[in-house]
């Protein structure tokens, strides 16, 4: 299997050339070194050659300019691709700039229901438009460990997002080039599915047959994620093998010779890859199947391991950055583990159930480091769930849907599809029940790169152990021991932190005391809900609670908060609380006296968690940390000035968290307390109604944090406030500029980190 060894050399070269995270590069060099030492001379030469080849190609990629554009252009000619998505009033799609052939994203807010219908019909792959649009950089991660859309797009060589003010059809033409045919077929097929299959069967059909997962319901997807079976909805090697096998059989049945059938399949594979959306796992599976088919006619028989190596080398030679895509990583890692286990470990399985369990455990172990880094949690129930759902989807749903799809061209299939739909809904219900089983999922927290590499070594070691000892128990034992070690050392770490999360326009501050002494969240951010017309409603649109705060807390390994403090009953402070509490409960919720009546609080009350009012004077102490509420001192809630104000000593610094306290409240505070603080959470997002110069002078902060949304409509922070702070020599951090701001401390040491570096 020199091709597989060469892939390791190629990966080491790519990561080295792009200056990837050091522990990962070390891991690859170590593995490569061991292999070099162990393999025969021939393979050794091939590995060394591959290393230099890939180091060169990647370095060329690195040094050539990323994009043909500066980002200042305003006139664009773009062609639409098959990656078209209209969701609510939002068009989000991939386009190709015509002269340069460079891929770009395009987002556009639809102005009316009529325009939505018109574009829905008109926009097809190959549709080419001249548009006026501003180009901007894709969003980068704004909170620690968050999904980074900018690097995600960069991995597929996309660097700009276009936001046109309008798309006028007069400036568009249809390009009927053959190049756009597969994409057009794909869109047509997806439309056919939507029209002929009832939901949710249509989602599954779109996913299993054409690799389109954009329309699935959020609850079901979440259940599948918890069960660790979400992979069956993405087209994988299993699908491609089943489909080619099916087609091969049919071709032979209708009297075509094996040789010719093989040629037909070879021609069909690239077409299928395009029809299925050409995601990394699809390309990988098609390349592997193609390589095996291609060599099947000659006298060399290509082993799966070599086919995997060939697929890796081809894909990374064309685009070395694809190794940074999660889909690519998971697809290759899992296939790698399965291929290397196919000769010994999987041979030992005595029946289908054992085989399926082994495959599922293998996949989980192989994907472990990548899963934890991306999702910070691990599905324990996955092996059992896979045992049930993989056969259901692969052996029943896939052939059935394929058959129904073809039949739909000739006869009405409503009866059959509704039967299948009923069955699917039963399975989804079962998934929902299983997903709610306690301990189905454990939150592990996001490991740092060093820990992830240790996990990777452990998972390779556990495979070797499994192979040698003929017993999975010892490997599972090693891995679970390591995993619990990671979870515990994370929870009881001597490190503490205060993080001002970037929740857009709003506040949310996370406090973690060292050695599991306490985890607090002050406010949750949120948005004012407003009535929307039906056509504008998006499916599972962004929401700060489930998309920012919950994932952040999970990455920190937190499953329960000790305290949730809601400073006052405004949507930008409490709006997302119910959403957060649904996933991560709190032992208690502390609110401002009298503020429990508002609309925004009803969701919190409904969670059934103990809610109590905090008031001036209440204080608590945990080892070196000290907390005390300084306001409000009456029991009547009158808005911003009745924000719960929290004074704290954390990590050797003094802090003042003011909520939306305004000038009047500040004056009251100055009257009652003589404060000298290090860190000030600036009141009311930097509005000029707060942070009066006398107040800033009185509390003498060294650092200040303003939590405000990028280009928010209130114009926060006001320049009066930033001016006051500058005049007093206060070092200012802003979430709209630096993203989340984290103060980390460990004993006497401390450091401040911003998610987006200072410009």
């Amino acid at each position: 299997m020199p091709l597989l060894h060469m892939s390791i050399a190629a990966l080491a070269a790519i990561l080295f050339a792009v200056h990837a995270s050091q522990p990962v590069v070390m891991l690859l060099f170590m593995t490569g070194g061991i292999l070099l030492f162990k393999v025969n001379v021939n393979t050794r030469m091939w590995m060394i050659g591959t290393f230099f080849l890939f180091f060169m190609t990647t370095s060329i990629h690195e040094s050539s300019p990323e994009s043909a554009f500066t980002g200042l252009e305003t006139e664009w000619t773009v062609s639409f691709t098959d990656d078209l998505r209209i969701d609510g009033d939002w068009l989000n799609t991939g386009v190709i700039e015509i002269p340069s052939k460079e891929a770009l994203r395009l987002t556009y807010r639809l102005q009316s229901k009529e325009e939505k219908e018109l574009l829905n019909e008109k926009l097809v792959p190959g549709f080419t438009c001249r548009i006026q649009a501003e180009a901007s950089l894709p969003n980068e991660a704004r909170n620690p460990g968050e999904f980074n859309y900018r690097s995600y797009l960069a991995a597929s060589q996309t660097f700009f997002v276009l936001t046109p003010k309008e798309i006028s059809l007069e400036h568009c033409v249809m390009n009927h080039s053959i190049r756009y045919l597969p994409a057009a077929w794909r869109v047509a097929a997806l439309t056919r599915i939507k029209e002929n299959f009832p939901a949710p069967l249509s989602f599954v059909a779109a996913a299993l047959l054409f690799g389109d997962r954009s329309s699935g319901s959020e609850e079901v997807t979440e259940d599948y994620e918890r069960l660790g079976i979400v992979h069956i909805l993405s087209i994988s090697g299993l699908h491609v093998t089943l489909l080619t096998g099916l087609l091969f059989y049919l071709l032979i049945r209708i009297g075509i010779t094996r040789e010719r059938a093989r040629l037909i399949l070879l021609a069909a594979l690239p077409l299928y890859a395009l029809l299925a959306g050409a995601s990394p796992p699809v390309i990988r599976a098609c390349l592997m199947t193609g390589a095996i088919l291609f060599t099947a006619s000659s006298n060399i028989k290509l082993q799966a391991s070599s086919a995997l190596g060939a697929a890796f080398l081809i894909m990374t030679l064309l685009n070395p950055y694809s190794v940074f895509q999660a889909g690519f990583q998971l697809s290759f890692l899992v296939t790698f583990a399965l291929v290397l286990s196919s000769g010994v470990i999987l041979k030992r399985a005595r029946n289908a159930i054992e085989l399926s369990l082994s495959v599922s455990i293998l996949s989980q172990l192989a994907a472990l480091p990548v899963l934890l880094v991306h999702f910070a949690e691990l599905s324990i129930i996955a092996p059992i769930a896979n045992l049930l759902f993989v056969p259901f989807y692969s052996l029943l749903m896939l052939p059935l849907l394929l058959l129904l799809f073809f039949l739909s061209f000739f006869i009405p299939i409503a009866f059959f599809s509704s039967l299948a739909n009923g069955l699917l809904m039963k399975m989804d219900k079962l998934a929902a029940v299983m997903a709610d089983v306690p301990f189905a999922v454990i939150v592990t927290g996001q490991p740092d790169m060093k820990t992830a590499v240790i996990l990777a070594i452990a998972s390779i070691g556990s495979f070797l152990l499994w192979e040698i000892t003929k017993n999975v128990k010892s490997s599972l034992f090693v891995c679970s021991l390591l995993l619990s070690g990671i979870i515990l050392s994370n929870r009881y770490s001597s490190e503490g932190e205060v993080t001002f999360l970037d929740v857009g326009q709003g506040d949310s501050i996370f406090i973690k005391l060292p050695r599991n002494q306490g985890t607090y969240l002050i406010d949750t951010g949120g948005r004012v809900p407003f009535e929307k017309e039906e056509w504008t409603e998006r499916q599972g649109g962004f929401s700060v609670g489930k998309d920012t705060i919950v994932p952040f807390l999970k990455r920190k390994g937190i499953t329960k908060l000790d305290k949730l403090i809601i400073t006052h009953a405004d949507f930008d402070h409490a709006g997302a609380a119910a959403e957060v509490l649904e996933k991560i409960p709190a032992k208690e919720i502390i609110i401002s006296p009298g503020s429990g009546e508002g609309d925004v609080m009803s969701g919190i009350i409904r969670t059934g968690i103990k809610v109590r009012e905090g008031a001036e004077g209440e204080s608590w102490e945990i080892e070196d940390a000290f907390f005390q509420f300084l306001a409000p001192n009456d029991r009547e809630y009158e808005g911003n000035d009745d924000s719960l104000v929290l004074y704290a000593k954390i990590g050797g610094k003094t802090w003042l968290f003011t909520g939306d306290l305004e000038e009047e409240g500040e004056n009251e505070l100055m009257k009652r307390y003589n404060l000298d603080i290090d860190w000030l959470k600036v009141g009311h997002h930097g509005s000029k109604t707060s942070s009066s110069p006398p107040f800033i002078k009185a509390v003498k902060p060294e650092f200040a944090v303003i939590s405000a949304g990028v280009n928010n409509r209130y114009g926060h922070p006001h320049k009066e406030v930033t001016g006051t702070l500058a005049k007093e020599g206060v070092k200012l951090y802003r979430t709209d500029k630096q993203g989340a701001i984290t103060f980390k401390f460990d004993g006497e040491k401390s450091e401040v980190k911003t998610t987006i570096p200072f410009k």
Binding site: M1, L4, H5, L35, I300, K301, I468
Partner: protein, 220 residues
């Protein structure tokens, strides 16, 4: 790519150890499965498969000698017959590799001072171009000490059981093995006549004990 020594199919096993440089087996699984390893109870002296442990009547009948015991790897079934014919008579020297690891392990367990081959008469060596017994020792990576030579004689395999047992000594010592224990490695053990003659000749060279390892154990 590594090919099966018998059928030339690819033998590389897709395994974790294989990925980390473990050598591919020399035979593919299909070919390997034709051969039956000897397991279960055997005669403590000659390795003949038996219903329970003990000493078989043959061995009990042999007169005492410095020969201690023989260990065999495989049953002499049809596939093994064909394999040994291919190895010995048709000169497929490389086949000795498939036994190398087992022979090495067994030799280590036998813990003898010297390893010696069963010599061929000069005319037979000229005919075959190699001594199968030496080939097995060499492939196993063991140091070979030539202690014996052999007069011209009839082929053992052409003789009947009775003729074998009555056979005259054709081996004679050419080296010094004073006070040493000797391990003899050969291809087949049938009646034990050859090995006992070898042991006798080794005794003349001064050896104190002789054990043997053979690839196959023929006879019931």
């Amino acid at each position: 790519m590594s090919q099966c020594l018998l059928c030339e199919n690819d033998t590389a096993v897709q395994s974790w150890r294989g990925f980390f440089g473990a050598k591919a087996p020399v035979l593919c699984n299909i070919c390997l499965n034709q051969f039956e390893k000897i397991d279960g109870p055997t005669c403590e002296v000659c390795s003949r498969p038996m219903d329970q442990k003990g000493i078989c009547p043959d061995c009990a009948a042999w007169e005492k000698n410095i020969f201690i015991s023989n260990q065999s790897l495989y049953h002499y079934n049809e596939a093994m017959k064909a394999l040994i014919a291919r190895f010995k008579y048709r000169g497929d020297y490389a086949l000795a590799e498939m036994f190398a690891e087992d022979v090495r392990a067994m030799a280590k367990k036998a813990a003898c001072d010297l390893v010696c081959a069963v010599p061929l008469p000069p005319s037979r060596l000229a005919e075959r171009r190699f001594n199968q017994s030496e080939a097995l020792i060499e492939m196993a990576g063991l140091p070979h000490t030539p202690l014996l030579a052999r007069h011209e004689s009839d082929k053992q395999s052409k003789k009947s059981r009775a003729e074998r047992i009555e056979a005259e000594q054709t081996f004679y010592p050419i080296g010094n093995a004073a006070g040493k224990s000797i391990l003899v490695i050969d291809d087949i053990y049938t009646t034990g006549a050859t090995i006992r003659l070898v042991a006798e000749a080794l005794g003349q060279a001064g050896a104190v004990s002789v054990k043997s390892i053979t690839i196959a154990r023929s006879g019931s």
